[in-house]
Amino acid sequence: MVSMNSDKILLAHGSGGQLSHELVERLFLKHLSNPALARLDDSAVLDAPGGKLAFTTDSYVVSPIFFPGGDIGKLAVCGTVNDLAMSGATPLYLSAGFIIEEGLPWSDLERIVASMAATAQAAGVQIVTGDTKVVDHGKADKLFINTAGMGLIPAGVEISGHLARPGDVILLSGTIGDHGMTIMSQREGLRFASRLTSDCAPLNGLVTAMLGSVSENRHVPPALQEAKAEDESQSMIHCLRDPTRGGLATTLNEIARQSDTGIEIDERAIPVRDQVRAACEMLGLDPLYVANEGKLMACVSPPIADAVLAAMRAHEYGREAAIVGRVLAEHPGRVVLRTALGARRILDMLAGEQLPRIC
């Protein structure tokens, strides 16, 4: 006889029958309540605002599922919210699909869903539809989550990896390597302890502040007016990207290739926490290739760089923002690092994987 009060997720919870309904009502709806979701129709029916829609999806397989600074659920919400924000979109709606390994404690799942609810609320998004499957023990490592997200791009905003142009200033919202090294520190066999925490955070508020710093500038100085007029794209923030897997180095290479421009960054300008640096030294890793889950880099037109930087530093997720480099016409498609000793060398994309299953 199947226990109705099981404290573990069972195969039956994914079968679509009574236990599935109980799981939805007692766990998911308890935490994720909103009108669209509460209908429990096969699809969420939503008001469609006019304009450009941004749409993205990601799957999350991080191990361990709980880590300092977050959990797989928070990661799943932030990751998708951030992907939307990087297009300049205001994130609106998320879906969440769960693949659960049989035997996962109910309390673990509940903790994760509650975390997703809290993160969604902080980010101002709703999780409006979802799915649950349960697989045999050993067929999924505790829990995998897929989220898809939709957002609306405000009129006049065009942000894309191919829009970087020579002269653009490259901004970074804060310290790099925090998430990846935190996950590393939780892996068995590495035997190191630290106060590292993941930087996992929703960045849409930060992006809004950055966009606002440009458009709110009512007393536009002549130089800026001219620059704005010359700027073919309507926003002077040309690119935004969050450096997740592969780290900042990989992200910069992506932008350089997409925009067919060169990039040069200054090793000394890149903020890295002491503990991240130490952990990287210990393991022979380079922070430039380590994943981040709460940081963004931006390519912006030079006249607005200071204003955008100020707006970032005024925001809770941009306190340690810094100018880290420039976009150039030289060596298109390549990223060059100016080392602390003043030499220049290529900063390539990550080849292979540094750390397995960190996102």
């Binding site: 030499a343 060398r345 290529i346």
Partner: protein
Amino acid sequence: MKYIDEFRDPQLAQKLLADIRARSTRPVRLMEFCGGHTHAIFRHGLRQLLPSTVELRSGPGCPVCVTADTDLDRAIEMARRPDVTLATFGDMLKVPGSYGSLQIAKAEGADVRIVYSTLDALQIAREHPQRCVIFLGVGFETTAPTVAAAILQAETERLTNFYVLSMHKLTPPATRAILDAGEVQLSGIIGPGHVTTIIGSRAWEFLPHDYGIPCAVAGFEPLDILQSVAALVDAVEKGQPAVINTYSRSVRPEGNPTALNIMQRVFETSDADWRGLGRVPASGLTLRPAFARFDAARAFPVEPGPAREHTACRCGDVLRGVIEPPECPLFGRACTPTRPIGPCMVSAEGACAAWYQYGEHEQR
């Protein structure tokens, strides 16, 4: 980070560079033996900063790169046994053997696990008494004593399921082999700092004595490497070959006697096959008979097929310092870090990997 950051001081580096520029009047070719030095040099951009009279050439100091195909093939065969858990340092995983790699074997079901220390392998053995845990012993004299210590620990604990497949090698004999081959003219050697921490700077006396060239033992921070280059340039200019210890905070003339004793208690010297160098006498370490029960080679006799090397692969020439990576016709074309043909492109300390990653090939 103490004793790291101070040795990266950019201003002191500039002054050392000025010193080198002032001293250097004639071309010198220096070999940095150790792969760790190769990567540090590239990472900090030292090659561009040194005057054009100073040429740096990479040596065979990448233990993964110099592992012979036959040895790797045997390790892969052992990993395929259903009762074996093979524990290895990470960068052995992707090295192509004759018939595949450890990574491929893992994807096909072999129990291959990455560890960061031999102690982790011991722990796996303790936790899984029903598995035969084989630790892949790759590394030079820096690593061999740690493996020896782990074997002694296994002996104390009477573990019956812990084994080591020793592919450990010794660096002075390899250096001799390169110089004896006479294929590349070298003015001096940048000595491997951490190997020498164990074996002692005296171990390099044969270089000035038998070959008339200086050796500067170097640490791995920019100031360490630049100091050793300055010392070598100075020694060459003055015609005074000697062993110079520029890593005195870690290296002593006698090395680490405790570590050497432990290493010599567990291992004995034997001939070894090096990729690129062939058979080098008295250059390898095998477990002594007293520790035979921990010797994977004895416990798991395997017969992989005949070794097959990619005919166009020139890792051997790169390892002997005869060519620089871009001179290999496969470099950057058929052979890249994601699709490596030879170990020099896939190992964390491989010269080809360093050249490729740091874009040196584009700067020619």
